[in-house]
Symmetry: C2
Subunit: 503 residues, 2 copies
C-alpha cells in the first residue's frame, strides 16, 4: 500500500494543467496575434488530457491503493485530504458528460467574440442570444453535477465551496445594511484632491517602484516575474514559478501600483505553499482544472486585497514609501505629501465601472451582479430584461444612471466566459482579508507595528503559517476557524470600512 | 471511411508537442531560474502524453480507418503520406520500451548537469562516465529501433532520414578533398580587417536592424517575435506562431546579425508550410516528438544557411543594406564601406569553437565530430581516448593545438543531451543550400537579380513553392529531385566555397 502511483498520476495531471497555464500566460503577454486560434486548441487539448487522466483507469487503480494507504491517517492529514479531494474530483467530473464539456468550451469562444463585438458597439442585443445559450448550458451543468436548493449553488461551488445562493443572500444583506451609512457619510465629506495622480507618469518609474514594493512584501523574483497586460493577473506554474502582470496608465498612477500590489498578494500565497505539496492534489484545482495552491477564489482574493488595501492603501504605507515613489517622479509629485497621497487613493466616488471602483463601493458592484446572475440561473430574470434590471440596480445602489450598455451590463468578461458564480468571491475576499487583519492585530500586534514601519516580514510570517503554507489542505472556513476562531464574518470588514471611510 | 478520427488524434498530439515547445521557449527566454526543475517534469509529461496517445487504442482504431480511407489515393498524396508516416512512427515508438525512454530522459538531466560542471572546470573526466552511459543507452536505443549496417545509422535516421554512416563517409570524403585546397588558398591571402566589428555596439540598433532585415526577407511578425537568449534558436507552435531568438555581443557585431538572419531562414520555412497541414502529421515530427513542418534537420538547416550565407553574406546584400546599419551606428561605422564590411564577414580564420567558425572551416568542425561519434557508437573509440582523438583531429583538420577541454571536446551540448547523430545535419544543410541556390539561378535568374536589388520576394516565392509549403510531405531527397533534378550533391557547395573564399 503506497501513494507512489497516486502521486505519479496527480503529478502528471498537475504538469498538464501548469503547462496549460503557461500557454495562457504566454497568450496574454507574449503571443503574436496570429497564434490565437491554434493556441485555443492547444489549451483545450491540455485541459482535456488532464480530465481524461483524472478519469482514467490508471488513476482508478492508484486511488484504490491510495484510499487504503491513508485509511488509518487522521482525516485532515495532508495525504488523507489529497486522496479525498481527488476522489471527490473524479466523482464530480464523472457526472459531467464530455459532450457538455465540449459544448461549453465551444460556446465560450463564440460568446466571447460576440461579447467583444457587443461591447464595442455598446449593444446588448448582439450578446443576448449567446448569454441565453450560456445560461442553458450552465443550467445543464448544474443539473449534471447536482445541487440541493438552487442551480446557482452548483456554480458557486466551483469557485467558493461552502457558499450557496442562500448563504450569499444573508452575507450580502448584512453588507448592504452596513455599507449604506458609511457611504452616506463618505459622500457628505469634501472630496480629497487627486489631480496629481494624472500627471503623465512614465512606465519605467511606475514599474520600478511597484516591483521594489512587491519584493519588500516578500515576492521572490527568483521564482517570479512581472510583465505587462491589459487585464492584470497572477498565475502559478507550481510555487517555483509564480508570475504577475500589471498595466500602466500614464494618466492614472494608481492603476499600475495597486494592480501590482494586488497581484503580489496572490503571488505570495502561491509562492509560499508547502513545497511538499508541489505537483500534488493540495496544489491543484482538480474541479476547475488548473494548477493552483490557494484553497478557494475567495481565500485567494483575501490575500490580494489584504496587501492592496490593508497594507498599501494605509496611511503608514505612504508615510514610509512616498519618498521612494517621489524619487522616480520628483517634479510631478513635488507638491504632494503622504497625507494628501493617502487621501487621494482612498477617495470615494461611485462610478459605473467595477474594476475602477474605490474600496467602499466595490462590493455594491459585486452584489448587484450576484443578485442578477442568481435570478438569471433560476429563470426569475429573462435575458431580455437584464439590461433594464442592471440599470435599475445601479440607480438603486450607486445612485447613477447608466449611460450605455458598454458602461453597464456589458462591462465584464465573466458571463461571456461561462464564469457564472465567480463574482461573489471578490467580496468574500474583502470580508476575509479584514477578518484576518483583525486576527493578526489580536494575535501578533508586533506584526502590525512592524508593518507600519515598512517591515513586512512578520505579517508575511503570520499569513504563511495561517494561510499560505496549507495550500488546498484546509477549506476556506477551516482556515478561518484555525486563524480567527470563527467562520466567515463580515463584522471586521464593516469596521474596517467605517474606520477608513467614515472615520 | 473518413480521416476525421485520425485528424483528431494527430491534432491532439500536435497540440501536446507544440505546448511542450512553448514551455521550452519560455524556459530559454522568460522563465525565472527557480522554475527549472518542475519545468523539466512538465515538458517530460507532455512528450510522454504525446507518445502514449500515438501508441493508444484510439489512434490504432483511427489508423485502421484512415489506412482504408487513403488506399486508393496516389502514394504521395498528402493524406496518404500522413497516414504512412503516422504508421511508421507508431511502429518506431512501439519498438522502444517506455523504460528506455525514461532512462534516456533521466540520464539527459544528469549528463547535462555533469557536462556544465565539466566544461566550467575544463575537465573531461567529470563528464566521461555520463558520456559512457549515454553511449550505452544510445546503443540500446539503436538496437531497439533496428539498423542494417551500423548502430549510428539508427541515430542519424532520427534527424536525417536516408543518411547512414556509410553515405556520410562518402559525402564527407568529397567535401574534405574539395575544401582543403580552398582553405589553403584563403589562408595564403592577406587577412581582411575586422576591427570595426568590435566597437561596442548597443543592443537597440543591432535588434532594430536585424529585425528590419528579417521582415524584408518575409518573416511575418503577426505570427512571430524575436527575443534574446544565450543560444539562438527558432521554434514553431504551428505556422501561426513561429519565434526566433538571437544574442547580442557589443564587441562582435556579426553574432546577433547573422544569428538573426540564420533563425529567420528557419522561421520562413515554418511560417510557409501549407496551412492545410496545420496540426497534422505533415507538420509534426512524430519520430522526434515535436511540432515542426520542416522535413529533416538538414533541410531545415539548408534554409537557415541559405539566408545567412547565400543572401546575407553576399557582397550585394551589404551594398544594399550597409547604409541602414550605419544609420543605427553612424559614428562607429563611418570609415567602413560595403566592400570592407563584406570582406570582414567573409574572413577565414580557423579556430577552436564550432559556433564561432567561418563558413569555410565550419564543416571541418562538423566532420570531425561525426567521425568521432561514429567511432564511439561502434566501440572503435573508447570514451577515455576521446579527448586525445579530438585534439589530434583538430590538429589534422584545422592546424591548431587545442589548449583545454573547454575549447575542445567539451564545447558542444549535443552529446550530453543524447543527440548523437545530429551533427551531420549542419553540413547537409550547407550542401543543400548551395544546391538550391544553383537551381534558383538556373530556374529563375530574375529571382537572383531581384535578391541582388534587395527584393527578396521572388526568392522566397521560389523557396515556398519548392520547399516550404510541402512541410513533411516529401523527404529531403524527394524535394531536391523535384527542385534540382538530383539527390544531395556536394558539387554546387564546393563551387560556392571556391567562388567566395578562393575567388
Amino acid at each position: 500500500m503506497t501513494l507512489d502511483a497516486f502521486r505519479t498520476e496527480i503529478g502528471a495531471i498537475n504538469d498538464l494543467l501548469c503547462a496549460s497555464s503557461v500557454l495562457v500566460w504566454d497568450s496574454r503577454t507574449m503571443m503574436p496575434p496570429g497564434g490565437a486560434e491554434t493556441r485555443g486548441l492547444q489549451i483545450a487539448t491540455l485541459v482535456r488530457a488532464a480530465r481524461d487522466r483524472l478519469l482514467g483507469d490508471a488513476m482508478a487503480r492508484a486511488l484504490d491503493e491510495a484510499r487504503r494507504a491513508v485509511e488509518d491517517l487522521p482525516e485532515d492529514h495532508p495525504d488523507a485530504r489529497a486522496v479525498a479531494q481527488t476522489l471527490a474530483a473524479v466523482a464530480h467530473h464523472a457526472r459531467v458528460p464530455a459532450s457538455l464539456v465540449e459544448a461549453r468550451a465551444a460556446l465560450r469562444t463564440k460568446a466571447q467574440a460576440a461579447w467583444t463585438t457587443a461591447r464595442a458597439n455598446s449593444d446588448f442585443a448582439l450578446f443576448a442570444p449567446h448569454l441565453a445559450e450560456t445560461l442553458r448550458l450552465t443550467r445543464a451543468y448544474a443539473d449534471a453535477v447536482g445541487f440541493e436548493a438552487h442551480p446557482y449553488d452548483a456554480m458557486v461551488a466551483l469557485f467558493e465551496p461552502g457558499e450557496t445562493a442562500a448563504s450569499l443572500a444573508s452575507l450580502f444583506a448584512t453588507l448592504r445594511a452596513g455599507i449604506a451609512p458609511i457611504l452616506d457619510e463618505a459622500r457628505a465629506r469634501p472630496q480629497a484632491r487627486a489631480d496629481f495622480l494624472t500627471r503623465g507618469y512614465g512606465v519605467e518609474g511606475q514599474r520600478a517602484f511597484g516591483l521594489a514594493i512587491a519584493e519588500r512584501f516578500g515576492y521572490d523574483l527568483a521564482r517570479g516575474r512581472l510583465d505587462t497586460t491589459t487585464h492584470p493577473f497572477e498565475v502559478s506554474f507550481t510555487r517555483e514559478d509564480v508570475r504577475i502582470t500589471t498595466r500602466y496608465h500614464a494618466d492614472w498612477l494608481p492603476a499600475s501600483l495597486f494592480g501590482t500590489f494586488h497581484e503580489t498578494g496572490h503571488a505570495l500565497y502561491e509562492q509560499n505553499v508547502d513545497p511538499a505539496y508541489t505537483r500534488g492534489t493540495l496544489a491543484t484545482d482538480l474541479i476547475g482544472l488548473y494548477g493552483v495552491g490557494g484553497t478557494s477564489f475567495g481565500a485567494h482574493e483575501s490575500q490580494s486585497r489584504l496587501w492592496e488595501n490593508h497594507v498599501a492603501r494605509s496611511r503608514p504605507f505612504w508615510e514610509n514609501h512616498l519618498e521612494e515613489l517621489k524619487a522616480h517622479f520628483p517634479e510631478k509629485l513635488a507638491d504632494v505629501d503622504a497625507q494628501a497621497f493617502h487621501a487621494a487613493v482612498t477617495r470615494v466616488e461611485p462610478g459605473f465601472i467595477r474594476v475602477e471602483a474605490d474600496e467602499l463601493t466595490y462590493d455594491l458592484h459585486i452584489m448587484l451582479r450576484v443578485e442578477l446572475e442568481t435570478a438569471l440561473m433560476s429563470g426569475d430574470l429573462a435575458v431580455a430584461d437584464l439590461p433594464g434590471a442592471w440599470n435599475a440596480a445601479v440607480r438603486r445602489d450607486l445612485g447613477l444612471d447608466v449611460p450605455d450598455d458598454r458602461r453597464g451590463v456589458l462591462q465584464d468578461v465573466h458571463w461571456s466566459s461561462g464564469y457564472i458564480g465567480s463574482f461573489p468571491t471578490y467580496t468574500i475576499g474583502n470580508v476575509m482579508a479584514a477578518q484576518l487583519m483583525d486576527a493578526v492585530r489580536e494575535d501578533d500586534p508586533g506584526a502590525v507595528a512592524a508593518m507600519e514601519r515598512a517591515d513586512y516580514a512578520p505579517l508575511a510570517d503570520w499569513l504563511r503559517a495561517a494561510i499560505w503554507r496549507h495550500g488546498r489542505r484546509f477549506s476556506r472556513d477551516e482556515l478561518l476557524v484555525r486563524a480567527t476562531g470563527r467562520t466567515l464574518d463580515p463584522a471586521p470588514y464593516l469596521r474596517h470600512l467605517a474606520t477608513t471611510y467614515a472615520g
